[in-house]
Structures are given as C-alpha cells and as structure tokens.
Symmetry: C2
Subunit: 509 residues, 2 copies
C-alpha cells in the first residue's frame, strides 16, 4: 500500500519527467488543439533596428552577468541591459552565501554531503512543488559553479556555514559576506571580454517576429527609475537570443498583492527598489507559461528596526539562529527550530503577531563580521546581564533564564530536546557575557515563481514548446525552488542557469 | 506593536483595496511603461464570421448557465458552448452543497451566522491569500444567490449541514444531494429563454480585435472529446462580450504538473475528464493576469477504492467526519480534526502515506442518502462489532476501541479534548451497531487559481486594465478562495460571479 500512495517517490522518480515528457494521456490531448501560432507575432517589429547583437541579456545580477560571459566566450556579441543607475541588482546586496554540496571545504571539515542530499533539502523546503529536473541540475552542478566563480577570482572564507533548512553545513561565504564579491569579479570579466553593461536601459517589450521568435527588444535608454517619462525609445535586435535575467518582483506592490494580498505596503522587503515585475509580465504577455507565481518568500532574519535587508540579519543568521536562541518576548520561550526552513520560521514569527528576539553571547557572535556597525546603528544591542536584556525587550526574566539554561543543557547533552535543531560542532553554552540581542521580523525576500524554463534555460510557452530565442535564468524563472527557496541556493541557481542561458542563446538552441 | 505587525488586519481593512486601487507607489510606477496595446490584437480576426451573438458563454456549469440566463434576461442574445457531449461540466457531478450565511434555515435552527463570519472562515482556509473584495462579495450575496436558485425551482433539504472549515452549520443541500438539482433547473430556464446550449463545441482561441476587445471565438463544432482531429472550425462573433466559465484544470495532467509536480497520473481526480486547461491557457495568451495558479486542492473525503469522486465521499463527509471519527489504521488513533479545512485534512492523510479509515455507527449514517449503493459497491462496509471492523482494515483493535471510547466521552462532556472539533447539536456516542467504515484518500478536486477578475467579473489584463469584452466566473477565475476553497463555496462562487458576468457582458461594462 505504501508504494501506491507514496506521493514523494511518484514525483521524484517518474511523475514529473513522465508528464512533461510528451506522453499522450487522455487529459492532455485536448491541449494540442491550440490555434497555431502565438498571438503576438510580428505585430511589434520595427521598420528599422537601432542596434544589433547576437545575444541581449536583461539584468546585471549574478545570472545576467554569467549569461553574458558565457555568450561572449562562445563567440557571440553580447550586451547587458540594466534599468537602474548601477549594475548588480539584488545580487550586489545579497549576503554572498553559496550552497555547494560535496565541496573541498566540506571535505576539509569532515562534513559528508552530496548533491542528492542537497536536492532532498531543496524538495523538502519546496514542499515538493519544485520542478525536480531543475532542482537536480543545480544540485549536481554546485561544485562546478562555485569553482567557476573562483576562476573569476572570487574569494571565499575557509569554513562553510550551516544555514536554516540545510541538513549539513555546506554554504560558502564570500570573503566580504556580500554578493558584491561575486558581482565585482563578474563585472571585471565582462569588461575584459568587451561586453557593455548599459545602465538606465528599461525593457518595454520583448519583440517577436512573425514566426514567434524573440527577435529583439524595445527599450528606453537614459531611463531614470522610477520616472516613466524619462528615456528614449530604441530597438535592439537579437540575432541569436534574448536572455531574461531581470530578477524577482519583491518590490512590486501591484503584482505581489495580486499573488499574495497580505503583502501590502505594511510589509517591507529586503530587495532593491528595482525588483519590479514588468519584464516578467511582458514575458507572460509573450506567451510564457506562469509557474507558481504566488509563492513569495519572506526572510525570517531581518530586523524591524531598520529598512530593507539592513545589517541586523547578519547577527540573526550567523549568531542568534546558529549559536544562540530566538524567543517570543511575551513568554521568554523558544517557539521554533531556529534553523527550520525560511517559510516555517517566517510564518512562526508572523503568528506571534510581534517581532521575536534573538540572543547570543560573546562566543556566539564571533562570526558576525559587522557587529560594531550593527551595535552603532542600535539594531543589535549589548548587555552585561540577561536581566538587563530582558528589561530592554520586556521579556519576563525568569522564563528567559530558564530557556537559556535549558539550551545550555542541550549543548552539553548534544541534542536539542525541544525542537531538534542541528547543533554546530563548535557550539558552546550561552554563558559568556556580554550578551547580544536583535529583533527579528520577516520581510519580502524572494519570489519563487516566475516563467517556466527547461534544463537548457529555454522559456516554455503556453503552446507547450520553447519560445524560440527566449531564455531565462535566476529569480524570473519559476520551479527551481518550489514553494520555498533554501538560503544560499539563489546564487547557485543564478550561476548555473545564467551560464546555461548564455550558452544556449549563443548556440541558438 | 500588535497593530503595526497585524498582517491580517492590514490586508482585510486596507491593504488589498489600496494597492489595487491605482494609488501610485514607487514600486508600481514602472509598470505603466508597458508598451501600449497587448500583442494579440487583430491577428486572428476572420474575414467573415459564421454566426453572431451579443454574449457568448464558454462552459455549461453553474457559472456559465447563470451568466447565460442573466444576459438573456437583460435583453441580449446569447449562446452557451460546451465541449463535452453533455452539458453541466463538473457542476452536474458536484455534491450540491451551497454555503449560505444568515439563512432562513439557520434561523429556524437557531444558528447564528453572518456574511462576516463566512468571510472570516474563507480567509482562514484561504491562508489569507484570498482577493478579499471577491470573497467578501460572495459572502454578502450568499442569501440572494441561493434564493435565486430557489426562484428557478431548486429544492433544498430542511436542515443545513456543517462542513469542514466552517465555524457553524450553514450549507444548504439540494434535495438529491447533487449539483444536478441546480443545473437541471438552470437548463430548464435557459431553454425557456430560448438560449442554445451547444455541446461538442471546443474553444480554440479567444479572438481579439485591433483595439484588444474580445470580439469572438474560433471554435470547433462537432468536436468529440478528446479526439483532436474531430470537429469543424467556425468563427462566432460576440457583439457585447465573451464569458469564460469553463471550469478548472483538475484533470489536465500537463498543466497541473507544471503548477504542482506531485500531481502526476498517480493521483486521481474527482473531476470529469473535460476539466482541462486549454481555455485558461488561451486566456493567459490573451493577456489575462495569472493568479495563484499553483494552488490546487485535494479533496480529503474520497475513497481510493473507486474512481473519481465516486460515492464513498458522501459517507465520509456526512457521517465519518461529522458524527464519527477518522483514524490512522496503523495506530487506531485519530490524527486530525475531521472538520479542519480541506488542505489540512488532505495533507494530514497524505502524510500518513496510506488511506485513513472513517468510522460511524447506525446513528451517524442517518443523513447518508446513498448508503445502500455505497455498501453494494463495497466502498462503505458494515460490521456488527468494532473487532470485525478492525480486522477488515488491519487496525489494532484495542487502540481503536480506546479512540471510540474517548470520542464518546467527548460527546458526553460536550468538547473534543484532542482536536477541538465542532460537535453537532445532534451528536451521539458511537455505540449503536452496526458500524460502518470507509477508506479516505485525497484526489485532485478544485483548482483555486486562474485568471484575475474584479467585482464586475471583468478579466484583468497584464496591462492592469480590464480586457474589454472579456469576463470570467467560477473555477477559471482565481483569487476568490485563496490557497484553499472551503466546501460548499464553489456553487456560491459560480452563481454569484456567473450572474455578475452575464449582467456585465450584457451591459458591455
């Protein structure tokens, strides 16, 4: 009986591949009656193109830059368009953590890991909504991907980090704990290869020719975000392909509230202001298939005491959740495994109805690289005693001390007897003042859904076929992460599918 | 602090309305740069239309028939297209339960209820993903909607039913416990009004004119599902509007596995075979905005021992979950509030890894109208003793008896001390043999997501405006139910928005 009803195995072993592999089943046959070509074809073709390239890349984050590098290295001319005044998108303000399964750094620490285990973690966090082939691909290519960034000169810290939802410590951290360490090297490479990154270039429309091929883009040059009256219309021809790597829509209030009406202006976002939906929406208008667009992730580690991503999250992610505890200030008690996946943690905090408080001691903060800045800003606070800490956040002091004592017992016993949290090999009791604390309140962080792609990064249309000449990678593509993206899998996703998209476009796959 | 972080209130009071009301916010401004008209315009216009009507309705279920009746009564000529050989779609095999908040039948039973309470139940089940205005509309119009069906001659049983996820008993049941009781009367009315219901009419494409208006449809007449080689192409002109009421895509393996790869051919569906995605996909290709398409509901009450919806669900929904208990056959214990919302129950059963067993006694089955048929079919089984029942399903007998005894104590005490289940006013102890049992295993039941509509049932395009001449109602529209639809809210949704769509189309809103 187990087998018949084992949904998980059904999906990983055969289900998804079978049903998308073109096997004709009763319920599917009807779809192929679709009336021939998509509707857009030819309508927007200009009389004259202003410029032409083999490959045009939209977006200058991890994925876009990886695509441009690959396309150019494959012998294609290429250009990168960025609507903001500076390149880098969300990637440049990203935390710089990179999931690698079975890495040399893990081997050095004696941590056993495999692409299969990373895939399992991704599927579990993703509530098994992941497009398994896509998730499997990034898991299998994680080592190759990080080595590619190292070949560009990116430097990582020696030790891997254990992030929420991962079975084992496996995440590389860039030397400066920021995605900028990767973007900078990618930009160097792009420049070295002679590929232009054109900022203030806003995509108005993907232009399809009469055969439905993505033939180029209608853009505005000299655009000044968010002033829609700015910029000059230009038509750019793409001889081989257009790569959409424009990111997610975490800052697009219109589109995100259609998908999740809870996410009003009352909910902040970690994203840069340019994380809006217009390229995604235009891709949908071009016949791309929407995938899981209503799954929007809130990051659990942000502070309500500063705007956007801020800096408090570093304390939460690197100390409070890893070496410390998170408590409900009303009770002084823990309420969740601090390393559970992002959605579970974010939902748990939201259910409290008020921010949680994370606590660590002087031992626990040793990997928080920006502690002084966070203290100066007042987002993280320092206390000589737990009583002083409790008073600051209106936490009942005795229950809080009981919580800390219980945690210290778990450390000694080698097991979190309340929530089964993974204990770091170098965990110590929370007993070395001063104590540090930070409030935690979720903000919109990542939009899991987007347009459908296959393993070649081709965009799949509603006619069930790839849209010729159209490729996508990174946050604009849906399915890789399913319902919930695991931390440090975004960089991995962007590098793997960004490179693939550039290669596919250059090869006119 | 509570207020600042109260996500629920943020959304119901102001958030949704504010952000979709056109208020210009930083993140939204960029969207209006969209390149003028949608792409489809004019490309598919025929040289000559074969026929014309004021209003063309796609689909002959609750929503489509309601739309046709309203359009015709408003003085418009109308036609209903149905791709299958018989009219009625899923509606005709629906269970015939209809949520009404604050009804005469509730008043007669002394049950306090209100549209506000129904809305609250819907939002809670919908994980607050509901488009609040839409949900509010059907809650407020529930009494008017059921009375409209009564004016067509539909008869309901005297007592209201208490379905999972509802705070109080409020669901009307048709006299024959089937949606056919409503569809039949709607078909009578449609006939009386002189509106044709054309079966075997397959929609190939929504045709938009040069201004983007839905001008008509390209269809196949004489189509024989699912044979795509059948039928003759015809062009039907819609002078006023096209109403999409084509239902959900629960039987469309291709499209449903893109949205949820778990739902392979290993997972059955309660839907009729024609519940496929082609009209939804064509609406997306016409520029309609996708809403929450990845939220697909599994009904918790179906039996794995028969195909499709079957008949065992009546026992589960009307006896096992209401007057009886549901146990895990491996432990003999309850594992969930049997009246929790559908998703929670379905997820809980799936997590078991095998079907659950529901149990009731001779008192508990008194409202199961088809008991003899279910027994004959062997889907429900009858036992003189609990030991015999336990033996049949391999349930450890002593724990099972403890579960029943505990339940009987809860009935006496007036409170379910394990899962807080609502106790019916006429609940009795499970102590009157014979005992009855049925297995429960989820099947794909309803697709919550679809295309975006507003309160006038206008389809909202990716250019953020209504698509002129295009209306939608029922399961093809997304947002009303959010993440999870409450039982008996489908009929309500279809009648309210079906009628609205017909009125809007006739008035060329």
């Amino acid at each position: 009986m187990k087998e018949k009803f084992d949904v998980k195995n059904g999906l990983t072993r055969r289900g998804f591949i079978k049903t998308t592999g073109g096997v004709a089943l009763a319920g599917m046959a009807a779809g192929s009656l679709f009336a021939g070509p998509l509707k857009a074809f030819g309508a927007e073709m200009p009389e004259k193109w202003d410029e032409e390239f083999d490959v045009i890349v939209v977006g200058s984050g991890f994925a876009g830059l990886a695509a441009a590098i690959e396309a150019k290295q494959a012998g294609s001319s290429a250009v990168v368009l960025e609507k903001m005044r500076v390149p880098g998108g969300n990637s440049i303000i990203n935390g710089g953590v990179f999931a690698v399964a079975g890495s040399p750094k893990q081997e050095a620490e004696g941590i056993k890991d495999s692409p299969e285990l990373l895939l399992e973690d991704m599927l579990k966090a993703g509530l098994y909504l992941n497009h398994v082939e896509l998730a499997k691909t990034i898991a299998e290519k994680s080592r190759e991907a990080v080595q590619w960034t190292e070949s560009l000169g990116v430097q990582y810290k020696d030790r891997v980090t254990h992030l929420g939802g991962h079975s084992v410590p496996r995440s590389y951290s860039t030397h400066n704990s920021s995605g900028s360490a990767i973007v900078t090297k990618q930009l160097d490479k792009v420049k070295e290869l002679g590929v232009d990154v054109r900022t203030q270039s806003y995509v108005m429309s993907i232009i399809q020719d009469k055969e439905g091929r993505a033939a180029g883009l209608k853009i505005k040059e000299g655009y000044r975000f968010p002033d829609e009256s700015t910029g000059t219309v230009k038509y750019l021809k793409a001889n081989k392909g257009v790569v959409l790597a424009s990111g997610g829509f975490g800052r697009d209030l219109y589109f995100r509230t259609i998908q999740d009406p809870k996410l009003t202006e009352n909910v902040d976002s970690t994203n840069q202001p340019g994380a809006t939906a217009e390229v995604l929406m235009d891709a949908l208008r071009s016949g791309a298939t929407p995938v899981q667009i209503s799954w929007i992730q809130l990051g659990p580690w942000t502070s309500p005491d500063e705007k956007g991503m801020g800096i408090g999250y570093v304390f939460n992610a690197m100390a409070g959740f890893v070496y410390g505890v998170m408590v409900d200030p009303e009770t002084g008690k823990r309420f969740i495994n601090e390393l559970a996946d992002r959605k579970i943690r974010a939902d748990a905090i939201i259910r409290l109805g008020h921010p949680a408080v994370t606590i660590a001691d002087s031992q626990g903060v040793r990997r928080v690289h920006n502690l002084d800045r966070a203290l100066e800003k007042g987002v993280v606070k320092k206390f000589d005693t737990l009583d002083a800490l409790a008073a600051e956040y209106n936490i009942p002091p005795e229950p809080l001390k009981e919580t800390i004592n219980a945690w210290n017992r778990y450390i000694k016993q080698g097991q979190d007897r309340e929530y089964g949290r993974y204990l770091q090999t170098d965990s110590e009791a929370i007993a070395n003042p001063p104590y540090y604390a930070c409030r935690a309140w979720p903000k919109v962080h990542h939009t899991m859904g987007g347009i459908q792609i296959n393993n070649k990064a081709q965009v799949i249309g509603l006619d069930k076929k790839p849209i010729p000449g159209l490729y996508a990678a990174g946050e604009i593509a849906g399915g890789v992460h399913g319902a919930v993206r695991l931390g440090s899998c975004a960089v991995l996703d962007c590098i793997v599918f960004g490179r693939t998209a550039g290669q596919s476009a250059a090869a006119k796959v």
